[in-house]
């Protein structure tokens, strides 16, 4: 099955129905394994004590927040360049998930900061750029809700999303470019991860579990968005049939 086959929303929905039970099972299994490893396999840090376990939520949430935005940027290109019928559905469905993961990363980071740094928040480059990411997500969600016409909303959102991509390298390299309280990268480094395997493995398992959860929720939200557009198209057809001279069919793009 190619990407072009998936351009058919009916075929896409059929695929989602088939893989969803497996995806749910894999997500539950991965989350259970990750939680077990986070609490019973990973040791406490010699300096941070039990608070090191916050990392198993904080770091995967931050990775997913960035991954989700990068995926939305890819979908935006799909909308503007190829006009793929599911590209804007994908971008719209991902925005609340990205906002949720960004919120979780900010919340867990703030909670972690209090016992370790002695403060809930500092306006340093990493934290501020991540807060900007959260505001970007909220702006994108608001823009989707502002416009009734999904085609116009998709173009406006695609442009806004692509403009916001500039924030991703700023977030990634903020700890290198500026002096921050936030620690530098400790997993994705040119000289290999700085974490011991007893911490790194549970972290990667939790990251995998969060990624599976993201994929599962994204497919569910996409399915709901396709249903919403079908309802809209059917209502507009009904309105058109009731008022034959009204030019409402021109606004319908069925999915």
């Amino acid at each position: 099955m190619t990407l072009y086959d998936l351009a058919n929303p009916t075929r896409f929905l059929s695929l989602v129905e088939r893989i969803m039970p497996w995806l749910i099972g894999a997500t539950v299994l991965a989350l259970a394994t990750g939680l077990y490893m986070a609490f019973f396999y990973a040791p406490e840090d010699y300096q941070q004590g039990v608070t090191v376990r916050i990392m198993f939520v904080h770091v995967p949430s931050a990775w997913l927040a960035l991954l989700c935005y990068a995926m939305m940027a890819g979908s935006s290109i799909g909308t503007l360049v190829w006009k793929h019928p599911l590209a804007d559905v994908s971008a719209k469905a991902a925005a609340p998930l990205g906002a949720a993961f960004t919120f979780l990363a900010l919340f867990s980071g703030s909670i972690w900061a209090k016992p370790m740094w002695g403060t809930w928040w500092v306006w340093d480059a990493r934290l501020t750029s991540f807060l900007v990411l959260f505001i970007m997500y909220l702006g994108i969600i608001a823009l989707w809700r502002t416009m009734d016409d999904p085609i116009k909303a998709a173009k406006a959102n695609a442009i806004l999303t692509l403009v916001g991509v500039i924030n991703l390298p700023i977030i990634k390299f903020s700890v290198d470019w500026w002096n921050t309280l936030h620690q530098p990268a400790s997993v994705f480094r040119t000289d290999g991860p700085a974490l011991h395997s007893s911490i790194l493995v549970p972290l990667l398992v939790m990251a995998g579990a969060f990624t599976l959860f993201f994929i599962m929720m994204h497919l569910m939200f996409m399915r709901n968005e396709i249903y919403a557009r079908r309802i809209r198209a059917m209502r507009m057809r009904a309105a058109s049939a009731a008022q034959p001279h009204a030019n409402v069919t021109a606004q319908i793009r069925e999915v």
């Binding site: 039990v50 949430s61 949720a100 979780l104 867990s108 909670i111 569910m220 079908r230 057809r237």
Partner: protein
């Protein structure tokens, strides 16, 4: 497991707050997805019962 419970009093509330929030966020997303799906499937069924079809559905049928 022993070391975890032994260390519960020191900063354990911070860890608990983070994991509880994660459960709330994950549970909230899942609940929204399922509730919205139920509403939209019902609405689609009502529209189809009223004789309103999608253009592509007419072609297929």
């Amino acid at each position: 497991m022993d070391s975890f419970f032994a260390d519960l009093p020191r900063h354990a509330e911070y860890v608990a707050a983070v994991y509880l929030m994660a459960v709330a966020v994950f549970g909230g997303l899942l609940t929204v997805a399922l509730v919205v799906k139920k509403q939209r499937v019902k609405e689609l069924a009502e529209l189809e019962a009223a004789g309103i079809r999608r253009r592509s559905a007419k072609k297929q049928g």
